[in-house]
């Protein structure tokens, strides 16, 4: 686990030793229990330990996924990060500034211009059309009608709902409704984008489609993202980094690759068991140093599974290219086969 002192303070969002206990007189009780109370003692004191001693840093431009089973405290954690609820203890920095010290007016400003949120059950206003919903955050800010509708139209088109502007939420399918939710959260061009289980209420096929859509959007927008999910596969697919939560605490955080290759606890190992290594391991970790010459070219950042088809023409070795385009290593057929068969 990351400890509080090692967190970079230049990250977009930092949580330091953040606690949230639900129940009466939570603050006093937590202080009385000492620096690192056992979960059992908190429960005995009649409190619900929703978030415990969380340390994390979300870096500019990354997709930070928080993964955990139902009730593990994920929603509580995002609500803390956006200060919808106040932490019982700890510190939250946004752009290096203490978010908890911001006044009500400052919070309103920050939320209006710098944060966006997508909700699990879409949270669309039933009396507004698609366009009205997407323009809603702008309307609240007092943006003139012409301008907000023009911007909302752009967002609606961006999420692929062009032509449905005048539909009401209940006339749309779940997937379409969530597209509206996404468009709305993007309308204010937020710096930090929260998505709380955005696809959990959707059918598996639609969910897959929405994940692809989400990746496409991110490749264009390059936002800083906090993404919540209870689905480990979804986390692996989307994340730059993952934090795994259990009972309110983060049990491990790292890249998908790190987590799959070296799970910190048995709890995490349970999730990783069904994940094929080749879909997580990047070429960069599987390659060997350059020796001789090799044909083809595969990116360092591709997963092994993505690189595998390039061996179909009989090649034994492929050249690997780094970010700049220079050859950084060689990928051998034997290693790829081993990883793919090893599951």
């Amino acid at each position: 686990m990351t400890d509080a002192s090692s967190l970079p303070s230049d990250a977009k969002l930092v949580c330091r030793e953040v606690w949230k206990l639900f129940g009466a007189r939570a603050g006093e009780t937590l202080r009385a229990l000492g620096p690192a109370p056992e979960i059992g003692r908190i429960v005995d004191a009649g409190l619900v330990p929703a978030v415990r001693a969380v340390n994390l840093a979300v870096r500019e431009g990354e997709i930070f996924v928080i993964m955990g089973l139902s009730g593990s405290g994920k929603s509580t954690l995002v609500r803390l990060m956006s200060r919808l609820i106040e932490p019982t203890a700890g510190e939250i920095l946004f752009n290096g500034r203490n978010l908890l010290a911001a006044s009500t007016e400052e919070m309103v400003e920050i939320r209006r211009h710098k944060m966006g949120m997508v909700f699990q059950h879409f949270a669309l206003l039933p009396h507004l059309t698609v366009l009205g919903n997407v323009a809603f955050p702008l309307e609240i800010q007092g943006v003139a009608r012409e301008e907000r509708e023009a911007r909302a139209r752009k967002m609606v088109a961006l999420v692929g709902l062009g032509g449905r502007e005048d539909a009401l939420p209940r006339q749309l399918s779940g997937g379409q409704q969530q597209r509206v939710g996404i468009a709305r959260s993007l309308a204010v061009e937020p710096e930090l984008w929260f998505l709380d289980e955005p696809f959990s209420a959707l059918d598996p096929l639609i969910r897959r489609e929405m994940q692809d859509e989400f990746m496409r959007l991110q490749s264009v927008l390059k936002k800083t993202i906090v993404f919540i999910t209870h689905d480990f596969d979804e986390a692996i697919r989307l994340a730059d980094r993952i934090a795994v939560m259990k009972d309110g605490a983060i049990v491990q955080q790292g890249t998908p690759e790190e987590i799959v290759l070296s799970p910190a606890t048995d709890y995490v190992r349970e999730f990783t068991r069904a994940v094929p290594r080749s879909k997580v391991v990047r070429v960069k970790s599987a390659m060997r140093p350059v020796a001789g010459t090799a044909g083809g070219a595969v990116s360092e950042r591709a997963t092994v599974a993505e690189a595998a088809p390039m061996f179909l023409d009989g090649a034994e070795v492929l050249a690997v290219k780094g970010e700049g385009g220079a050859v950084t290593g060689h990928l051998h057929r034997a290693d790829v086969v081993k990883l793919m068969l090893g599951g």
Partner: protein, 665 residues
């Protein structure tokens, strides 16, 4: 006793407590008269003069009370002015026209809206809310009113409603929002709301009459007080039920508290709020009719006057007009609630075609009205009066069936009503209080016991025991008959969907009718007295008995019925052993509602000469004695509360016994 004969039984059977309690009660009833006469009749000299205190308090309020900056009388005058102003305008618009000058010397400077224009406007509202069919229905209802010569009265009634409804909705909305925001405020008003829903409407009228005087303003105040509590409750519930995600959304887009309330919470709760609006409309109609006793005028006054003259024809005609108005308003508000807003582009006329159409019609009708008076006022020559026809029908019935009807009435009176009344009047109040407290203890613990016992004692102490017993007797018999009708009808309807559709349409319509309307036919056939009151009460209270029985039976898990069939139960066994048993909690709630309906109607039947608490309120009303009226009203409320709490506790116990989970009742 049973447990003495069975020495092996270690624990006493559940009912042994009941046997003991009833035994004690019986001993008191038989032997107590000589030993403790005070247990039967609370000594007159010891009566606590609550009524006098309240009357004195109201007088003090009116004459002396002051809040520093202004006096109480000034406050009531201010409220009256606030209500009076819009009322005058609406009344002028609909009925009297705009007048200049006072009394008989007044000159009309602007006529009221033409009758054709009013019909057209309401039809347009119908078209806007629900399409062409609704427009036709509404137009038919209003035309009916015009044809049968009830236009003027109906417009007076409508004016009161049009003023009371927006005020009631706005007031209820505000109180509901406050209650939703502040738990403290919620805790403060909850008991007040509970009490207001159980105090019979008549009882409100007395203090209002006292504070606001006789006239339409007082009637609107009464209507507001009557219609606001349900709106408050609906608002609070509706706001509390808005999904938390929507509140989060509001915060995340940076809403100010005001934007949060009006842009997010209230619009999201719209559907539920519209249910409240519908309730306010229907309750206002009901109350405006009843408030004719304190000067509301309009259709209610026509019914009341006809009742006093025993002019059935006129009464029935006004009654039918009330029904037409009720149907039109109910369908309109339902359709408006269900209407889905869409957005339309274009200029002001294109965006509001109905509004533009309505304004145009009003204008054209006004201009045409100058030329052709028939457009302005419905010509008297075209009116159909069915009054004499109905009077003749009643006469004919009375001539041909008098003996028959009289025989029924007398048989029921002699064999059922009077013996039951005697029995109840002979009960010692101490014993009744004890028995009710015992029932409370068995069903809901000592808190309930204290509540039921002390409320009973309070009734006796206020010197209203005898009148209360008459109320209980009429209410009890009416409820029993309503249940005897409601259960079988409900059982039949629960199995036959087609029948249920018909029955539901009938009881839905019955429930939209103001309670006053029920009196007319009953009086026509049986003239005044307890029997007439009973018929009216049964007719009014049978709807919930049917509805809850059907809902309960339909709610029974079909797998259990199949299981019963698989075990070889006959249909009769399935009905008795499975369906009725599992539907019991629901049926008990139906019983509860039936009692509440019966009590609220019973008070109104004072008009047809009962001798119960309702009569007490009625007398207080004619004497403008607020203390007497309120105390009697509270006594009715106490009876309602005792019945309500005991039955709710019984339903909860039944639920727990059947393993249906702790459903909130």
């Amino acid at each position: 006793m049973a447990e003495a004969i069975l020495p092996r039984a270690r624990t006493w059977p559940r009912w042994s407590g009941w046997v003991l309690a009833l035994g004690l009660f019986l001993v008191l009833r038989v032997a107590g008269k000589g030993l403790a006469p005070w247990a039967f009749d609370w000594p007159k000299a010891q009566t606590v003069p609550v009524a006098r205190w309240i009357s004195a308090f109201t007088k003090w309020l009116l004459n002396e009370a002051s809040f520093g900056l202004f006096t109480f009388a000034e406050l009531t005058r201010f409220i009256a002015a606030v209500i009076d102003f819009p009322y005058r305008i609406v009344l002028s618009l609909l009925a009297t026209g705009f007048l200049k000058g006072q009394g008989s010397g007044a000159v009309q400077i602007l006529p009221p809206l033409a009758w054709i224009a009013v019909i057209a406007v309401f039809a347009l509202i119908g078209a806007w809310a629900g399409g062409r069919r609704l427009a036709l229905l509404v137009a038919a209802c209003f035309t009916f009113i015009a044809i049968f010569g009830q236009w003027q009265s109906a417009m007076v009634t409508l004016a009161s409603i049009l003023v009371a409804v927006p005020l009631g909705v706005a007031g209820g909305l505000m109180l509901g929002i406050l209650a939703w925001r502040s738990p403290l405020f919620e805790r403060l008003i909850r008991p007040v709301l509970d009490l207001m829903q159980t105090i019979p409407v008549f009882a409100y009228l007395v203090p209002i009459l006292f504070l606001f005087g006789f006239g339409p303003t007082a009637a609107v105040v009464a209507t507001l007080i009557y219609a606001m509590p349900p709106m408050t409750r609906v608002t609070q519930l509706a706001l509390a039920r808005v999904p938390g995600e929507l509140a989060d959304l509001g915060h995340m887009v940076g809403c100010t508290p005001r934007q949060m309330l009006w842009r997010v919470m209230v619009p999201s709760a719209r559907d539920a709020l519209m249910v409240g609006v519908n309730q306010v409309i229907m309750l206002s109609l009901n109350m405006v009719i009843i408030a004719s006793m304190i000067g509301a005028g309009g259709l209610g006054f026509d019914v009341l006057a006809a009742l006093r003259r025993l002019d059935f024809g006129a009464g029935l005609e006004a009654g039918f007009a009330i029904v037409a108005l009720a149907v039109a308003l109910d369908r309109l508000s339902h359709a408006a609630a269900a209407r889905q807003a869409g957005s339309v582009q274009g200029g002001p006329v294109a965006r509001h075609p109905y509004l533009a159409g309505a304004l145009l019609t009003v204008l054209i009708a006004a201009i045409l009205g100058l030329v052709a008076p028939a457009v302005q006022t419905y010509p008297a020559a075209w009116e159909l009066s069915t009054g004499t026809f109905w009077s003749r029908v009643v006469e004919w019935i009375n001539v041909n069936f008098f003996d028959f009807l009289e025989a029924i009435k007398n048989a029921v009176l002699l064999n059922l009503l009077i013996p039951f009344k005697r029995f109840l009047l002979g009960l010692p109040w101490v014993g009744v209080a004890g028995l009710l407290a015992f029932a409370g203890w068995r069903l809901g613990g000592w808190r309930l016991a204290v509540l039921t016992g002390s409320l009973t004692v309070l009734i006796a102490v206020a010197g209203l025991w005898e009148k209360a017993m008459i109320t209980v007797y009429l209410c009890g018999i009416s409820t029993a008959i309503a249940m005897l009708i409601g259960l079988p009808v409900g059982i039949l309807a629960a199995e036959r969907d087609r029948l249920w559709t018909v029955v539901r349409a009938v009881i839905d319509t019955l429930q939209t009718l103001p309670s006053f309307v029920y009196l007319m036919p009953a009086v026509m056939l049986f003239r005044v007295g307890d029997f007439t009151a009973m018929i009216a009460v049964v007719a009014f209270a049978v709807a919930p008995a049917i509805r809850y029985t059907v809902l309960g039976l339909k709610g029974v898990d079909p797998r259990l019925i199949e299981a019963g069939r698989a075990m070889g139960c006959t249909e009769g066994q399935i009905l008795r052993r499975i369906r009725l048993r599992l539907a019991l909690p629901e049926i008990l709630l139906g019983l509860n509602q039936t009692i509440m309906f019966a009590l609220s109607m019973l008070v109104i039947t004072a008009l047809v000469g009962t001798r119960d608490l309702g009569q007490e309120v009625y007398i207080a009303l004619t004497k403008a004695d607020p203390g007497r009226g309120l105390v009697a009203g509270l006594a009715v409320a106490f009876i309602a509360i005792i019945a309500d709490r005991l039955i709710q506790a019984g339903a909860r116990a039944a639920r727990a016994r059947l393993g249906l989970g702790e459903g909130a009742a």
